[in-house]
């Protein structure tokens, strides 16, 4: 697959991705010089809002239905090393950017309730985290991607240790960093090997020496099959730890339980860099290895679905429960990605976006409870229905979206996931099927214990949704029902890239590279084997 490049200058007139990447960083610097906590907080919020606005503009200007890289920017390039400043988005990454920006706005907005100290640094760290995540989504140079992937740890570490709620937050933060660094080092080796392979291939074809980590360059150079398996597993470890995938998930419950009320935890639950890496990096660059090992990945996913759901069943603390429910949902996404077909990719991507709304929403909700009663444990809750009807309704809506009730976003994602999985291996779809009612069981059981029954005597007076919470809930609720009832706009943006990806997986990486026009032609021809893009006309 050779992708056309549409440069930002042609498309929108200014380098919007660079702006998106550096705007939060600029605000970080500005905040550093504003000494007043309150003002700093306000400026930080304003920055996040501008960023969200820009991200939305970008998503709307994005041309749907084509697989090409858009808003491209090519900056400097370090000679010999081959690492370059190369940004661009396609259908796979475009939707993550507005979701990240939206969550950032809400995280900073909620700081007034969730953060009791030093809001300035909190806003700084959150904005820095946003910048690294957006950087990872927009970078097309694999080394750059890795760099953002790792730098993300710095603000995360501060957020956990400074604003964590648990007594063991230091330990949790250390473990988080240790886990991530181990994984990232393996991943770095994998990416380096990709570059070396490019170097060897260009030497062999007589184009001269030189390394490159450019995604588009790497796409054009097939990797020998044995090397593919090695690289596949090296990168797998890095991403598996990040995702997390069973059995590399043990840091996650700890970080979520000990970490900040919203802070980076929301991003941890909502923004799935790990699985994004699989669909961005692993599947297109190493299709043969993916086709060879898909069963292992799907198996790990299936184990994760059931394992996570079962453990979530007995959790009494909502934050731990969300951690395991996230493990379960990640299993679903893995199942979908490694069904290696169009519907599977679509379902995986949609589910990842959904998690940014429902998963993150649930964690926000845990934060709502935390600011009222402390750790949201069922022991300190009970019988809330009549006292806080809005809060109750919020949890019910989020839970039902997580369960995948039709009309909510969860249904559409899950539907596509199971459809894709069904086509590849129906027995794995059964795991997802079992997962659906286990999900219902753990959410509703928690609901029963926390909200029904007789009123917990330790609760004297609990405020219902406060204005800011109301705003967050309204936004999340609107997104849940919007995506649930009209998924078209999202799917249209994904479809072009995902179709190209499905063709890539089907044909493998060894087909002769052709000119862009020929590929477009081929893409047009193979429409027969892939359904028409709904509504792309």
């Amino acid at each position: 697959m050779i992708l056309n490049e549409i440069f930002a200058s042609e498309q929108i007139g200014f380098p919007i991705l660079s702006v998106l990447l550096f705007l939060p960083l600029i605000f970080v610097v500005v905040l550093h010089f504003i000494r007043d906590d309150h003002l700093a907080y306000q400026v930080g919020l304003a920055g996040a809002c501008i960023e969200l606005l820009l991200a939305c503009v970008m998503a709307f200007r994005f041309i749907p239905g084509i697989p090409d890289m858009q808003f491209m920017e090519r900056g400097f390039r370090i000679p010999y090393l081959g690492v370059g400043y190369h940004l661009g988005v396609d259908g796979i990454s475009v939707l993550f950017i507005p979701v990240t920006a939206l969550l950032t706005v809400m995280v900073i907005l909620y700081a007034e309730y969730a953060v009791k100290s030093d809001a300035r640094h909190y806003a700084m760290a959150t904005l820095a985290l946003e910048a690294t995540m957006i950087g990872a989504f927009v970078s097309l140079d694999m080394m750059l991607f890795w760099l953002f992937f790792v730098v993300e740890l710095v603000p995360s570490y501060f957020l956990i240790t400074r604003w964590g709620t648990g007594a063991h937050r230091q330990r949790a933060a250390r473990e988080y960093v240790a886990f991530m660094i181990t994984g990232s080092v393996l991943m770095l080796v994998g990416i380096a090997l990709l570059g070396v392979n490019y170097h060897n291939a260009s030497l062999a074809s007589g184009q001269g020496s030189g390394y490159s980590f450019d995604f588009l360059h790497l796409l054009a150079v097939p990797v020998p099959e044995k090397l593919q398996t090695l690289i596949f597993f090296l990168i797998f470890f890095g991403l598996a730890v990040k995702t997390p995938i069973f059995p590399f998930h043990t840091w996650m419950p700890k970080v979520l339980e000990e970490g900040p009320i919203v802070g980076m935890s929301v991003f941890l639950v909502g923004i799935k860099l790990g699985t994004y890496g699989f669909i961005r990096l692993v599947v297109p660059l190493l299709p043969e290895a993916a086709k060879e090992w898909f069963w292992l990945m799907a198996l790990l996913g299936a184990i994760g679905v059931i394992y996570g759901a079962l453990i979530a069943l007995i959790q009494t603390n909502l934050r731990r429960m969300v951690a395991f429910s996230s493990l379960s949902h990640m299993g679903v996404v893995m199942l979908a990605i490694f069904s290696l077909n169009f519907y599977g990719f679509q379902g995986a991507l949609l589910q990842m976006i959904n998690l940014g709304i429902t998963g993150a929403g649930l964690f926000f909700f845990a934060g709502f409870l935390h600011t009222r009663v402390g750790p949201p444990d069922t022991a300190s809750l009970g019988g809330l229905v009549h006292n806080v009807p809005l809060l109750t309704a919020t949890f019910l809506i989020l839970a039902l979206a997580g369960v995948g009730l039709p009309g909510t976003n969860g249904f559409n994602g899950e539907h596509l996931v199971i459809l894709g999985t069904f086509q590849q291996h129906w027995y794995m779809a059964l795991a997802a099927g079992v997962g659906t009612f286990l999900t219902a069981a753990y959410f509703l059981w928690y609901f029963q214990r926390a909200f029904m029954g007789s009123l917990n005597p330790s609760i004297h007076k609990m405020p219902d949704l406060r204005p800011r919470e109301m705003f967050i809930v309204a936004v999340l609720g609107a997104m849940i029902f919007w995506i649930g009832l009209d998924t078209g706009p999202l799917l249209r943006r994904m479809n072009g890239s995902l179709q190209a990806l499905a063709i890539r997986v089907e044909q493998g990486s060894y087909v002769e590279p052709r000119s862009a026009a020929a590929v477009n032609q081929a893409g047009g021809d193979s429409r027969d084997s892939f359904p028409e893009i709904a509504g792309s006309e």
Binding site: A46, L419, M452
Partner: protein, 801 residues
């Protein structure tokens, strides 16, 4: 016009649900008269719309589709929110809207002064919307949408009295049990997509011949799983009796009449597929028969009126499944319709009877004397209809085929007999309960019986409906060529097929049926003797055990608890321990012990410490909020020099301990720097934003709310006007007619009822009792029992051959 009305039929209840839902969430702002008016007004609107659609359909019986909008999924999987209007869906729509209208109307008095008044009516309207979506859908996906929403409404209503732990638990269990069926439904949808690329009814059914028998069997099995879970059939029916935790009107609507029939509707709707999978059809029959037997037996020993009613409901649903399994779809639909009205009626009369029997604070002795006869007669009418019913729907279809299909006839006959007997027995027992007030017999799980006087009006409505039900029953709707069948003919060709399974299976089925017949005769006679109240030793221990077994619904619930719920919980605990004790040490990177020891001061404690400060001095809120630092609080008492020394030690230690430690050292440094600089500069961006949003809230949201409130009031006014004008006038007319009838009937009553029947009922009861005692004595001889048993098997086998 037609399209608009079709869209409005589910649209009106949705709007009502939204209006009442907003009210429920924002703290009950409308007056109490508005809420129910919105709900029943919408239901009535839907009902009228359905009548219009029925008329149009009678004029031109071709099915038509109405597309609302594209709810697109992806690629070729285009799923539309679209409705299919044909005779089957119109019958179901009529049933749903009329019963929901009556139940909502009835609930006004029932739910009076209840906590969660508007929550209740919200869910009722939402249920109507969901059920209409279910029966009107033109594809399986929209049907599934309704299916799930109906399940959610059921959850919300079972757990309505959520202060009670049993209600909360029953709700959760019902939802999870239903999810098992939903997973089956989803699998069926995927199989359909994989094979046809569509889930549209018309397309799937017209192309049903394209797929192999294995695939059809898989699809139909998945659909059967869904139907079994929704309709409370064995083995997934254990949630149904627990569902009686909800308010009575909703119990009637959901579990007595409308919602539980969704499973039958699903099978009837998919009959083209089922016809192509005879083995699955046989399974449907077996499931139905087993449930009928199970629920029939259970119903015999219940001492609680609501439980008894729901058990008989369950048994009747089993009969409907059986009818489907035998290919007698029109019979099933007919049975479904008439049974729904009947059961609705019985559920409504039950609480008022109970109330009269036990007496409430309002009811004086006189009012009791006044009301007992009316209610009892109404109840008796219902009981009679229940007795007649299985014969009508069970026997009549049998009479229409010749000797070639005796099996179907026999099966239905056998089932008719047992169900009839159970029903007769129950009716007799209930009548006994009503007339003789046997103390402990009348407890219901419903804690809120309401005044009997207020029920008379809706009960008259129900009496009319029951009358219609009985009339439909008397007009033999089950027979070929009658209007009911003709109406359904375009959708379900009126033919009866017998499952073409192997002869062995047929014989097994027949033996099962003969057992049913035998037990149908034996159980009521025996069971009454083996109650726990009887002295031990007076009865055989086996029978007592059987009685207990039946009383506890064969311990199915406990079995699930033991075999599924507890192992799952135990497994989860085990996995959790595995996660923490095994997986973590293996995959977890050994990290140095935290060098900074926090003096146990967690965020929570600080938060608690801050709270009162906030409450006392709101002006100082911002300062307190921003400047109170975790770290400073933690190290507040540490002298500065020591802290510095500590920092140096930490920094060097960090260097020695590698990158993680370094990072931590760096973080400490940044923290210190950050905390040092807290000088203030004034800025107003967020305040501006807050001001803007405040303005927005006040102006836009406030005025929308006003507008919304006005709209709601308008709607309420309209339905209020309607109530006054139309219902009121009709009531007046009806009232005068009733008075006339009452005058006539008063005379008749003096002569006939008081002397004849009021004396006659006890006499008949006595007679029945004596007969039963005689039979019982006769059946006490094992020889006689064995003989009857043998004879019935032989007769059935002879008939089959």
């Amino acid at each position: 016009m037609f399209d608009l009305i079709v869209v409005l039929i589910p649209g009106l209840p949705l709007l009502a649900a939204l209006a009442n839902g907003v009210n429920a969430l924002l703290g009950e702002r409308y007056s109490r008269t508005v809420i129910p008016r919105l709900a029943w007004g919408a239901a009535l609107g839907s009902f009228l719309g359905t009548l219009y659609v029925l008329v149009r359909l009678l004029l031109d019986p071709t099915p038509r589709e109405v597309t609302v909008y594209r709810w697109l999924f992806s690629g070729e999987l285009n799923v539309n929110i679209a409705f299919l209007i044909d005779s089957l869906s119109v019958v179901m729509m009529l049933l749903t809207t009329s019963i929901t209208f009556v139940m909502t109307f009835f609930s006004v008095n029932y739910m009076h002064n209840e906590r969660g008044f508007s929550r209740f009516f919200t869910v009722m309207s939402l249920f109507l919307f969901a059920m209409l979506l279910l029966v009107m859908a033109n594809n399986y996906v929209v049907m599934f949408l309704g299916w799930e929403l109906v399940g959610m409404c059921s959850y919300l209503l079972i757990a309505f009295y959520c202060e009670r732990p049993s209600a909360a638990q029953a709700g959760t269990r019902a939802f999870v049990m239903n999810r098992i069926g939903d997973a089956g439904f989803l699998m069926a949808i995927f199989l359909l997509f994989a094979n046809f690329g569509t889930a549209n009814f018309t397309e799937v059914f017209s192309r049903a011949g394209e797929i192999g028998p294995g695939t059809v069997a898989a699809i139909t099995l998945c659909l059967l799983l869904a139907a079994v879970a929704k309709s409370g059939q064995l083995p997934l029916g254990t949630w149904l009796p627990r569902a009686m935790e909800g308010p009575t009107p909703s119990s009637a609507l959901f579990y007595g009449s409308v919602m539980v029939t969704a499973g039958v509707y699903l099978i009837v709707r998919s009959h083209v597929l089922y016809d192509r999978a005879p083995d699955v059809l046989l399974l449907v029959a077996i499931v139905g028969a087993a449930t009928a037997l199970f629920a029939g037996m259970v119903s015999l020993v219940q001492t609680d009126i609501k439980n008894m009613l729901v058990a008989t409901s369950n048994a009747q649903l089993g009969l409907m499944f059986l009818a489907c399994g035998l290919g007698a779809y029109p019979v099933a639909v007919f049975h479904l319709t008439a049974h729904a009205y009947l059961k609705c009626y019985q559920f409504i009369t039950a609480p008022s009877i109970l109330h009269l029997l036990h007496g409430g604070p309002d009811v004086t002795k006189t009012s009791r004397r006044e009301n007992v006869p009316v209610i009892s007669w109404l109840f008796l009418a219902g009981a009679l209809a229940l007795v007649i019913f299985p014969f009508l729907s069970g026997l009549l279809p049998g009479s229409r085929f010749g000797s070639g299909v005796t099996q179907g006839l026999l099966v239905l006959l056998a089932l008719g007999v047992i169900a009839a007997f159970s029903a007769a027995f129950n009716s007799a027992r209930l009548t006994a309960v009503v007339f003789e007030d046997e103390g402990h017999n009348g407890h219901t799980s419903d804690p809120h019986p309401k005044s009997g006087l207020r029920f008379i009006k809706p009960m008259l409505v129900m009496a009319v409906i029951a009358g219609i039900g009985i009339a439909i029953g008397l007009l033999p709707g089950g027979v070929n060529g009658t209007w009911f069948q003709q109406l359904l003919a375009p959708v379900i060709p009126a033919k009866i097929g017998v499952p073409a399974g192997s002869p062995l299976l047929t014989i097994v089925l027949l033996i099962l049926m003969s057992l049913l017949v035998a037990s149908g005769w034996l159980t009521p006679v025996y069971f009454d003797r083996f109650r726990l109240e009887e002295p031990a030793g007076s009865v055989s221990p086996f029978m007592r055990r059987l009685y207990n077994l039946t009383l506890n619904r064969f311990y199915l619930d406990e079995l699930y608890d033991l075999a599924v719920v507890r192992p799952a919980t135990r497994l989860a605990l085990l996995l959790d321990r595995f996660d923490q004790k095994v997986l973590e040490p293996i995959t977890g990177v050994p990290v140095p012990a935290p060098r900074i020891r926090l003096p146990g001061q967690t965020w929570q404690e600080q938060f608690r410490a801050i709270q009162p400060a906030e409450a006392v001095a709101p002006a100082a809120k911002a300062t307190v909020r921003w400047e109170e630092s975790d770290e400073r609080a933690a190290f507040g008492e540490v002298p500065a020099g020591l802290a510095k020394k500590g920092f140096l030690r930490r920094a060097t230690g960090g260097l020695a301990r590698g990158p993680v430690g370094m990072m931590s050292g760096a973080s400490d440094w940044v923290e210190k720097q950050g905390i040092g600089r807290t000088e203030s500069i004034v800025g107003n961006l967020i305040e501006l934003a807050a001001g803007v949003s405040g303005w927005f809230e006040k102006r836009v949201i406030g005025s929308t709310e006003n507008l919304f409130g006005k709209l709601t009031e308008l709607a309420a006014d309209i339905s209020g006007w309607f109530e006054k004008q139309v219902v009121g006038r009709a009531e007046n007319m009806f009232g005068s007619l009733t008075e006339l009838a009452a005058a006539v009937s008063a005379g008749v009553e003096n002569v006939v009822f008081q002397k004849g029947i009021e004396g006659g009922i006890p006499m008949a009861g006595q007679w029945l009792g004596r007969l039963l005692t005689r039979t019982e004595a006769l059946l006490g001889h094992p020889l006689v029992v064995a003989l009857i048993f043998l004879l019935s098997i032989i007769a059935l086998l002879l008939g089959a051959l």
